[in-house]
Amino acid sequence: MNINTLMLKNLIKRPLRTGVLVLTAALMTAAMFGGQAAAKSMRNGLDSLEQRLGADIIALPEEAQAKTDLENILLQGTPGYFYMNKQVADRIAAIDGVEKLSAQYFLVSANAECCTTKVQIIGFDEESDFTVKPWLKNTYSGRLGDNEILIGSELSTKVGSTLSLYGVECKTVGKLEETGTGLDTAVYATNETVQGLIKASQEKGIAVLSKHDPEEVISSVYIKVKDGFDINDVLSEINQTIDGVQAVRTKSMITGTADKLTVFSKGIGIVTIAACIISAVIMTAVFSALAGGRRREFAVLRTVGFSRKRLSSLVLSESFTVCLAGALLGLFLAGVAVFPFGRVIEKSTGLPYLSPDIGAAAGYAAFAAVAVILTGALSSAWAAYRLSHADTGSILREGD
């Protein structure tokens, strides 16, 4: 018998005790890794959204619901639409301090027409666009023709295939990078294509735009402010001089989300700390109870020649093995729960969600695993000390 297998035999022959410890370590690892990964994913999503919006100001119709609708489109992926007169864009362009702007056009696909649920259709002007095409995943340098579309990363449609929108076959020519936001489920086309779709909807009697002439409206205007100009000044100018429009700072679109994220992150932090403390207490209690229950066994090991150092290393190696197994299990469970269900988490929390890259995820995993193993080592250190320094003769006499 290899003496180094004694540790494994001890663990295998006490499945209940080992199982409890492995599960405790797994719980702690899952809480730490899952919590960190989820919080980072939300932070990534928010950063991505901020970058993706790419504008300093967004101008929307004045009605109060428009801002909420846009937030829902961006954050929840809930399709929506609202419209204002397209001359608004020209008037904004004339305001001092506006470097560039691009109008967009929102439309919603008919239910279950192309996809399992309604999708957001966003029309954009290729000439002035600075918020959609920079995020094309596949190299697509051409111009979008009629009935050609770009799609968000979440849509399963492949580049080259077609989507039927209001009975119009639209060819997918490119896919955008993942943002972790509602924009990932949207379809993008030129304003002309979107106007064609609206007409098609009217012919089908769906008439999503019955009150407006599609060629006379837009949904939003993305505005970039020139360097040297105060964004708030430009924003005030737009709000004061253009009727029927509310201009909002892009950052303010996500302020509520950022606040929510802060609260959520704190919640995750508290849960993580609580899970760590509970796990450490459980591990310490179990190792301590084990120390009491194994006194005689360890005294016998002393009689056959185990040194204190070897006894301590036996206890610590058991703890290390248990915690390593727990850490691997916890990482697996957290990985299974956090990464594939990002969209579900996004929906349930209302926060944008973009998983960290492999390097960052590996860093969180390593941190959680090391923390759990160290906790196990500290929890068992006292037991190891007590067992190895107990008076062997006294223990052998106990109960006899």
């Binding site: 018998m1 003496i3 035999k9 005689r296 056959v304 040194s307 008076d391 006294s394 052998l396």
Partner: protein, 221 residues
């Protein structure tokens, strides 16, 4: 090998008082001799055996194995010494529950990395445990566990053997078997020290001591 213990004392502190277990005990055990220490329960025999075996540090006095003062050794050195030179049969159950009978038996040899398969098989055969080679301790009776402890103490062919009530839980036949085996170890050159309150052990003794309330006295045969 000559084991010499001089002026051994052992005191324990409890919350309320200090208890003296051994008063100024002297004992010598030599190679080729089987020494029996008898006495009533609680007289301090087991504590003395633990001190002689390097398991409990005495409050006073010294224990020499030839010229080596074992309590001046580091824990690592004493542990290696114990593994190589000392066989110890503790009182009561002494098997590791996670190991089979065979694995328990060869544990001291596994620790030192020595090969002991043949000797282990012989000891199992001699002590009537061959059929239980792959059984776990929970499957064994008290007597079988006792014999396993004896076998394990002998696996490394130690030069000093301590046995604390080795015939407890054994029927007459197995008591004779164990005592005869220990006697053979002494005849083979080991110094054997047995603690027992049973008369059966005395007939195998070359030297006898009596322990009464912590006071050790050599008895003339």
């Amino acid at each position: 090998m000559t084991l010499t213990a001089k002026s051994i004392t052992k005191n324990y502190k409890t919350r309320r008082r200090q208890v003296s277990v051994i008063y100024d005990g002297d004992i010598t055990a030599k190679s080729g001799e089987l020494t029996v220490i008898s006495g009533r329960s609680g007289s301090g025999k087991t504590t003395l055996l633990s001190i002689l075996g390097g398991l409990t540090k005495p409050s006073g006095g010294s224990v020499f194995y030839d010229e080596n003062d074992i309590y001046s050794m580091s824990d690592d050195k004493l542990s290696r010494y114990r593994n190589a030179e000392i066989g110890f049969v503790p009182q009561g159950q002494g098997a590791l529950s996670a190991l089979t009978v065979f694995e328990n038996l060869i544990l001291p040899a596994s620790l030192s990395g020595s090969k002991a398969k043949d000797r282990a098989e012989k000891l199992l055969e001699r002590l009537g445990l061959s059929q239980l080679r792959d059984a776990y301790p929970r499957e064994l009776s008290g007597g079988e566990l006792r014999r396993l402890s004896v076998a394990r103490a002998l696996i490394n062919s130690p030069s000093v053997i301590f046995a604390d009530e080795p015939t407890n839980d054994l029927d007459d036949e197995n008591s004779e078997l164990v005592l005869q085996l220990l006697k053979e170890q002494a005849q083979g050159g080991a110094a054997v020290v047995i603690v027992s309150h049973e008369q059966a052990a005395l007939k195998y003794a070359d030297v006898t001591y009596r322990m009464d309330s912590g006071r050790l006295q050599r008895e003339e045969k």
